[in-house]
């Protein structure tokens, strides 16, 4: 498991990006998708994921739909219009950050 502190600031962006690529997702699915995409390198903890999802929901970035699946209720999240706009901003921010870090680390190395 890598240093999770380095990923912490990017959690919101990761969630938004995933939801941008999928119509709707639920919490557990997000954790599994991240694990799959990063080949187990990044493991989003439940204690970090849900507060981020709830904050995004409260900020109007996500819409919620509760659906009965088999014998239980499942809460799906999907991007709102402002959530889609925010995804673009957040991704741009993250890409700029990566570029800056690469330039900095490249010079230090």
């Amino acid at each position: 498991m890598p240093n999770s502190k380095l990923y912490k600031g990017s959690l919101t962006t990761i969630i938004l990006k995933l939801l941008n690529e999928h119509d709707k997702m639920y919490g557990y699915e997000i954790t599994q998708k991240v694990k799959e995409l990063t080949k187990g390198e990044l493991n989003i903890t439940e204690g970090a994921l849900y507060p981020s999802l709830h904050k995004l929901e409260a900020d109007g970035m996500l819409d919620v739909e509760v659906v009965k699946v088999e014998n239980r209720l499942r809460k799906y999240y999907k991007l709102t219009e402002s959530g889609t706009k925010e995804t673009v901003n957040k991704l741009e921010e993250l890409q700029n950050y990566i570029k800056t870090m690469q330039a900095l680390v490249g010079k230090l190395a």
Binding site: Y50, A58, N71, R72
Partner: protein
């Protein structure tokens, strides 16, 4: 292997035992735990339900569900306050601003004309607290009815009962009469502040109880259509 209906009920009880009493929060946690347990069963079908649950709950860390519940309550309360702010702002835009400014001006005029300011201040506060009390009692009755009808506790109701935390700000009004004294003359600036603050207080209270609370209830209704909130 799939989770059974009775195991789902066990998971609800488990979340309640771990201090999550609100059904709207429990539901998401129950689904998460159930998915995790089913995933474990795929890898190890012989694993007992209780053991799989223990392993799954461990992933939530030493604080268990408490961080999630706390953050969710905070997020919902913030959402409530933001909505109050959003709708209160409309009272400062045309056409409503006309009535807002007129109310402030009218109150200011009365305060300005009446010599003993307590003749204005006391009835205004009695009226405001009467309104607040009326709104809160009505709201409390609605909440009790929802609890009775659904048989469950709901986080959105807990947040609306506190007016998203605004109830503490509004209660500051109790101390306002303490700063008045019959002998102290009210300055011109103070008369303006008083008139603006009273009207603003009333608008916020009205918006919170009559617009934002029903809106939040409607949002919850959309999420849980099988229950009756509205």
């Amino acid at each position: 292997m799939k989770i059974t209906e009775s195991q789902i009920q066990q998971l609800y009880k488990f979340t309640a035992l771990h201090y999550v009493e609100f059904y709207d929060v429990q539901t998401e946690l129950v689904d998460h735990l159930a998915n995790g347990i089913e995933q474990q069963w795929q890898e190890n079908p012989k694993l007992k339900f209780e053991e799989a649950l223990r392993l799954e709950f461990k992933k939530f860390g030493i604080f268990g569900f408490s961080d999630i519940l706390e953050e969710k309550s905070k997020a919902l309360a913030k959402h409530y306050r933001k909505q109050v702010y959003k709708y209160t702002k409309q009272y400062f835009k045309l056409p409503k601003i006309v009535l807002t400014l007129f109310s402030m001006w009218a109150l200011f005029k009365i305060v300005n004309v009446v010599e003993n300011k307590n003749y204005v201040a006391v009835p205004v506060f009695v009226l405001l607290f009467g309104f607040q009390l009326y709104f809160l009692v009505t709201e409390h009755k609605k909440r009790k009815k929802i609890k009775k009808d659904t048989g469950k506790n709901w986080l959105f109701q807990h947040v609306t009962a506190q007016l998203g935390g605004l109830v503490h700000v509004l209660n500051l009004g109790i101390y306002v009469p303490n700063i008045f004294s019959e002998n102290d003359p009210w300055s011109f600036t103070f008369q303006i502040i008083f008139s603006v603050a009273v009207v603003l207080y009333f608008i916020m209270l009205y918006v919170a109880v009559n617009i934002v609370t029903p809106k939040l209830r409607l949002e919850a209704q959309k999420q849980f259509p099988e229950y009756k909130f509205v």
